[in-house]
Symmetry: C2
Subunit: 136 residues, 2 copies
DNA sequence: AATATATTGTTTGTGTGCAAATGAAGTTTG
DNA sequence: CAAACTTCATTTGCACACAAACAATATATT
């Protein structure tokens, strides 16, 4: 008879912390989902990429990034064109609306991260993020 | 111009760590999803509960727990009956198959938690889980 | 007892997230 | 050059996850 405590398992706690983070995110930045914001932020950073490559940069598989890109495109936040040298590739760029939105909300995105970690002291935040990153 | 590094944001790192955890889980315990295992484990712990109450115990909303319970019931891992005193309520219990499966995999579930935190030392694991829990 | 309020489970709609299969288009190899 | 392979985007199918609306049923208030 093994003693198993659900509340002590990292997977379960991870899920709950993520729930809290999602709630904070959608309250402070209801215009975009965390996923959509990540895609937009990365797209602005790299200027132009293909769809699958963008997915790889933010750890989304081909099926997932397709949906995210479609939703951003439908709202006019990014633009797609075909790569003339490789007609399989769909090259993506943030539109000017996308850039404006990003500039308007990036400070809020930072506040979301802060608020999520608010229960921790400054030192603990650094420590926690360091440990968390090692679990990639 | 705010300096925003996606890879340093807790939400993004949380998502990646969760991805890694999910991959470990489905490799070591492909019979159940983490969600289904959580529902089964909690159900065995509390013996009998209504569907929505079970959802509350493991932080799943009514729509989500319904799907999870339906899938477990379809596989015969739990049984449902109507509460005679309150005919709205669907009372759930783990079936004997459900209990057997749980006993057979609970040790594996513990190994999954261990493996997820493997990159950390013993002291760091305790420390990390403590900090993580404070972010509920 | 009649009305108002709350809760239970269900359904619909939207958005991730992954596996597996597919056709089109490149690249590598014999 | 042709066959084998790889990659790109797409589609389908399944599993969470939450919001909002709903009917049925309980409970509380007057």
């Amino acid at each position: 008879m093994t003693d198993y405590k659900l509340d002590d398992q990292i997977g379960f706690v991870l899920r709950r912390v993520n729930q809290r983070h999602l709630a904070i995110f959608s309250q402070l930045l209801p215009e975009l989902t965390p996923t959509q914001f990540a895609a937009l932020a990365k797209l602005i950073e790299v200027v132009e990429v293909s769809q699958n490559e963008l997915g790889r940069l933010i750890a989304m598989d081909a099926a997932t990034i397709k949906g995210v890109v479609d939703r951003l495109a439908r709202r006019g936040l990014l633009e797609a064109r075909r790569n003339p040298n490789d007609s399989r590739r769909k090259l993506l760029r943030a539109s000017s609306e996308g850039k404006v939105l990003y500039e308007n909300v990036v400070a809020t995105a930072l506040r979301i991260s802060e608020k999520t970690m608010d229960p921790l002291s400054t030192g603990e935040k650094v420590q926690f993020l360091g440990l968390l990153k090692r679990l990639w």
